[in-house]
Symmetry: C2
Subunit: 351 residues, 2 copies
Amino acid sequence: MAVDPSGGWDHPAHAAMARAVAASEDARGTTSPNPPVGCVVLDARGEVAGVGATQPPGGPHAEVVALRAAGDRARGGTAFVTLEPCAHHGRTPPCVDALVAAGVARVVYAVADPNPKAAGGADALRAAGVRVESGLLAQEVERGPLRAWLHYARTGQPHVTWKYAATLDGRSAAADGTSRWISSAESRAEVHRLRRQVDAIVAGRGTVLADDPQLTARTPDGALADRQPLRVVVGVGDLPAGARVLDDSAETLHLRTRDVDEVLAALAERGVVDVLLEGGPRLAGAFLAAGRVRRVLAYLAPTLLGSGPAALGDAGVTTIADAVPLTVEDVTSSGGDVRISAVPGEPGRSR
Amino acid sequence: MAVDPSGGWDHPAHAAMARAVAASEDARGTTSPNPPVGCVVLDARGEVAGVGATQPPGGPHAEVVALRAAGDRARGGTAFVTLEPCAHHGRTPPCVDALVAAGVARVVYAVADPNPKAAGGADALRAAGVRVESGLLAQEVERGPLRAWLHYARTGQPHVTWKYAATLDGRSAAADGTSRWISSAESRAEVHRLRRQVDAIVAGRGTVLADDPQLTARTPDGALADRQPLRVVVGVGDLPAGARVLDDSAETLHLRTRDVDEVLAALAERGVVDVLLEGGPRLAGAFLAAGRVRRVLAYLAPTLLGSGPAALGDAGVTTIADAVPLTVEDVTSSGGDVRISAVPGEPGRSR
């Protein structure tokens, strides 16, 4: 059935998928290398019968969790899923079989599964007589909870978000090295929430030597968050024995290389899908020069310095024609800071 | 009469003042050192009877232009004015007298006149039996057409907007000096419209030597706009004889000083109220260090360079606590660029 993605969906469908997206978002950081999927099952009368999200690897997928919660009420109902249900036997049986067995009459998913092994779920459902539709809130899912995993599924590489905080004139610290606090309390809290959701935080050895960061996810009161990403330090030399990044608040991996693709391969091998690159300027420049940054998240503080270290170091660009083109996805306010999310690629823009 | 500025105005009042604001905006760049005021006169039935804007110095003020257009229809009507009508004899008779003589029953103005010589208009109108209200669209006027003049009226100094274009990482050009085009066609067209509206464009001699800019206002097809601001070059040494800034497309003033306040005094003496500071990084740093930048207008292109000259040079800040705090007024998209308008001052923000 062809559906107008812009407005062909009724309000209950929107509301159900929005709840599935929220469940998907909640599961981020706990499912890699599997996708953090969300699922909402409505009964035949349109009431919410079950909500579920992907469980950690080895556990049931989102559809199965939601169907279990719905029980008999799933019969004749509709399942809203952020990702096309899988049709293959992985560590768990195919979700398509569970949906058919539960008697679901209709499945609506946001985005198709790009993984050739898992794809074919829609066809299998249709073959079993289930009505299948797709595309509802697709952009929210592609830019939101499944962004990193979709990239990983398409390329086999972890998705890298380069996050930086700088002044409006692009400085990450003042001339004397001081930088507390360039960004607002709200921006810093958001970064800690983001850290909690990713699989790994990556920083350069130079940043560890200069700033001795702990690279942990914390709650606003300063306590360690309930989940901690893998801490990854990139650089050939040793780390100081007392470095905070080596404390016992989270696991730490020291990769003795300067090669960006070696870093990504080592992380992919450990099942890391979603990477937050936090610094410093030299490592960010290397990732950009290698074309491995998939999203730039800039927190620009409403202040000017006029001197001090730049947020971004050498990215292999010497002339304007070689500048790394981005497309701005969204611009929001974050406690007085301007927060810009951008992705690589030339937008449809006139010069 | 006390009025709730947030919502106490009816739709016709809003529409009339919005049209007065547009007339005010249209007059920018032609009235200095007088304010570019706009006025709309509604007749007793609420129909638009006359619209007017301040004419060039020596010519009639906005109220008089609108009243002349309205003729007898002004009697019993309402005048909407972006600035409190003047009560003093300058080069022209007081507008208050003209409003009273025309039989206007009510006057609504957006912002009060901070000029002690001109103030008292509201009181004089009330004394003549006219109903007076104020504050409608005050913020639009204060941030819009009267921003520069209000600053000038309060301080005696020209209002300086520092405009710059840079990459997301704060570079104004690549390492080899190339910079065409960092900003989008839409941003460049907006800057040309802004140049047409200001009294003067200021650049440093270093920028003239390095980039040989013409510093003119142009239409999108490349033709000279119908109005050209004064071109001002700041720097002690001579300018090259063939510099484009010395061509006959507009008047040019060379100020042989490095002192920011000497620059502003020389400009104020010539009746300059609204200044656009366009570069380079060293001059911008000097104006910021002197506390003379009243607005920052940043066009951030969605691109990264990682090397190349910084948009802002030394502003006398060496430690983070001395960073120049700004408050972001608004953030908009401009042909793919992120356009940020900010004003000096610490916002109510948590750190």
